[in-house]
């Protein structure tokens, strides 16, 4: 598996650290109900198909990446920098 880092280009999977689903970007506010925190920390769509997850380019540019990836085929369709995320 190789990931195409927007800054560094095509790199081997070994350079990256996988953190988890995109959900980790949607951190609730301190005052939000416990259910929001439960969703944020624990509950996942966990699709068999295209998902978005967080990878850290540990042995490269040290950027967090949001990767659109198919969990059945391992095909990678898009990689964007979390820092430049618009949506």
């Amino acid at each position: 598996m190789r990931l195409k880092c927007p800054l560094c280009g095509d790199r081997d999977r070994r350079e990256f650290y996988y953190y988890g689903a995109e959900d980790f970007l949607n951190r609730p506010e301190a005052a939000d109900p416990g259910s929001a925190w439960d969703d944020y920390l624990h509950n996942r769509d966990n699709p068999a198909g295209v998902t978005k997850d967080l990878w850290y380019h540990e042995a490269g540019c040290s950027q967090w990446l949001l990767v659109a990836r198919n969990t059945v085929t391992h095909e990678i369709s898009a990689v964007e920098l979390v820092a430049e995320r618009t949506a």
């Binding site: 988890g20 689903a21 509950n43 966990n46 068999a48 998902t51």
Partner: protein, 444 residues
């Protein structure tokens, strides 16, 4: 098939009396050593299929989704312990095509946290009577499990774990370096990265034949009247007014008073059919086996610091593995970095295996929870139950999970050994984080 006879005990008698009631189902053949010899003399022509292949009925008291180890054992214990026999197990592929036939077969009761400890202890006791209970040779082999440690701090942690095991009534022996050497003289004790300080020996730990466990429970459930329906994928769960009514399948609709979701790596998809979003992320775990060798490794060895473990199958292959690939995946195959890592760790620990040829590698889909512990619970839908979150440790759990899930589905109450496996524990903060690695699905 190799069948071993065992002295009759109370389990056997119970089984026999149950089996008699289903003699008319054409499948009452009891296995024994004598039978093997007789069949051998007459060309093995007398064997009949180990279970029927029924068409689904329109309605059942209980429908189990998933014909893996846990689904089959749940069906078996519903019949055996609770007399509920109007049961169907619906399996989308063939029985045993999931993780039950892909795991590295380690059976142990060396857990530490209250909640886990009593559950796996109960499971190991069921394993110890399983062959007589099922009249089936599951090749359970209590060859001893040794977990290695490599520092003073790790030794302290293992002393504590060993005491927890002993307090639970199970067995644990602390070995110093010499003690480990007596059992495993072939390890590289002086390796500079992780010199071996000692190990925790769990003499009752060991392995079993994974397929045989599925087949044994399948045959036992079938003989008690359970319908095992293969090539039958559940595509929807029918719910009316908050109560489960049945399931939609590729072989038509089936009504049911109670439904159990027991589908391991596919838990999120099936639970979504009932509007649930689970605390589960599916990950791939790989394993490897070498060509058959003469007996060389007598134990199960776990090298936690290197993320490597190994045992030798009765056929002679060295069976070994390591960590998850670490990214969410439904592909039952992994990537090269973990293959390399596992091989390197194996060579670090025991260079003697370096010339063995790897025959096969494969992967399975693991239902990982954020605390690494499972769920056996009701759901928000009346009559709908779920058994999931087995991570990469659900093989040893097959007997106790079926036992506890059957108890829950029959009585509506959690079994006492599975009381902490609640779905709500994530919301309430009562996590069962055995490894203390925190709320990240891939870190357990």
């Amino acid at each position: 098939m190799i069948v071993r006879t065992r002295p009759a005990d109370c389990h056997t008698n119970l089984f026999m009396s149950g089996a008699r009631g289903f003699g008319g189902r054409g499948n009452s053949m009891r296995y024994s050593g004598l039978r093997v010899i007789t069949e051998g003399l007459f060309g093995n022509k007398g064997w009949t299929p180990a279970w029927r292949d029924p068409a689904p009925k329109a309605e059942y008291d209980v429908v189990i989704i998933g014909g893996g180890g846990h689904g089959l054992s749940t069906a078996y214990y519903l019949a055996r312990n609770h007399g509920i026999t109007n049961v169907a197990v619906l399996e989308k592929g063939h029985l045993g095509s999931g993780n039950i036939g892909r795991n590295t077969t380690i059976v142990r009761a060396n857990y530490f946290l209250p909640g886990n400890s009593e559950f796996y202890s109960h499971s190991l006791k069921l394993w110890e009577g399983l062959e007589a209970e099922l009249n089936y040779n599951v090749m359970h082999s209590q060859r001893g499990l040794i977990n290695l440690f490599h520092s003073d701090g790790q030794r302290d942690a293992f002393v504590r774990r060993g005491n927890a095991m002993i307090n639970q009534g199970d067995d644990a022996v602390l070995l110093d370096q010499e003690g480990v050497r007596e059992h495993l003289p072939y390890l590289d004790f002086e390796q500079t990265r992780f010199p071996i300080y000692g190990g925790l020996l769990h003499p009752r730990g060991g392995t079993a034949r994974h397929d045989a466990v599925a087949w044994g429970y399948a045959r036992g459930a079938d003989r008690r009247g359970v319908d095992l329906i293969q090539n039958c994928e559940v595509t929807g769960i029918d719910i009316q007014g908050g109560v489960v009514r049945g399931v939609q399948t590729t072989r038509g609709a089936i009504r049911a008073k109670k439904v159990g979701i027991i589908v391991a790596g596919r838990s999120s998809q099936v639970a979504a059919m009932a509007g649930m979003r689970l605390p589960v992320e599916s990950h791939v775990l790989q394993a490897f086996v070498t060509e058959g060798l003469k007996p060389v490794i007598d134990h199960v060895i776990s090298f936690g610091m290197g993320h490597f473990y190994i045992s030798q199958s009765d056929k002679g292959g060295l069976v070994f593995g390591g960590d998850l690939d670490f990214y969410a995946s439904y592909a039952a195959r992994g990537n090269l970095p973990m293959v390399e890592h596992v091989m390197e760790a194996g060579m670090t620990l025991m260079p003697m295996i370096g010339r063995a040829k790897v025959l096969r590698s494969w992967g399975g889909i693991m239902d990982m929870t954020p605390d690494g512990s499972p769920v056996i619970d009701k759901t928000h839908v009346e009559g709908l139950f779920i058994d999931c979150g087995w991570n990469y440790g659900g093989f040893k759990a097959v007997p106790a999970s079926g036992w506890s899930m059957a108890h829950l589905m029959a009585t509506g109450e959690s079994h006492e050994v599975a009381r902490k496996f609640r779905l709500e524990r994530f919301a309430t903060g009562h996590l069962l984080d055995e490894e203390g690695t925190g709320s990240q699905h891939n870190l357990h």
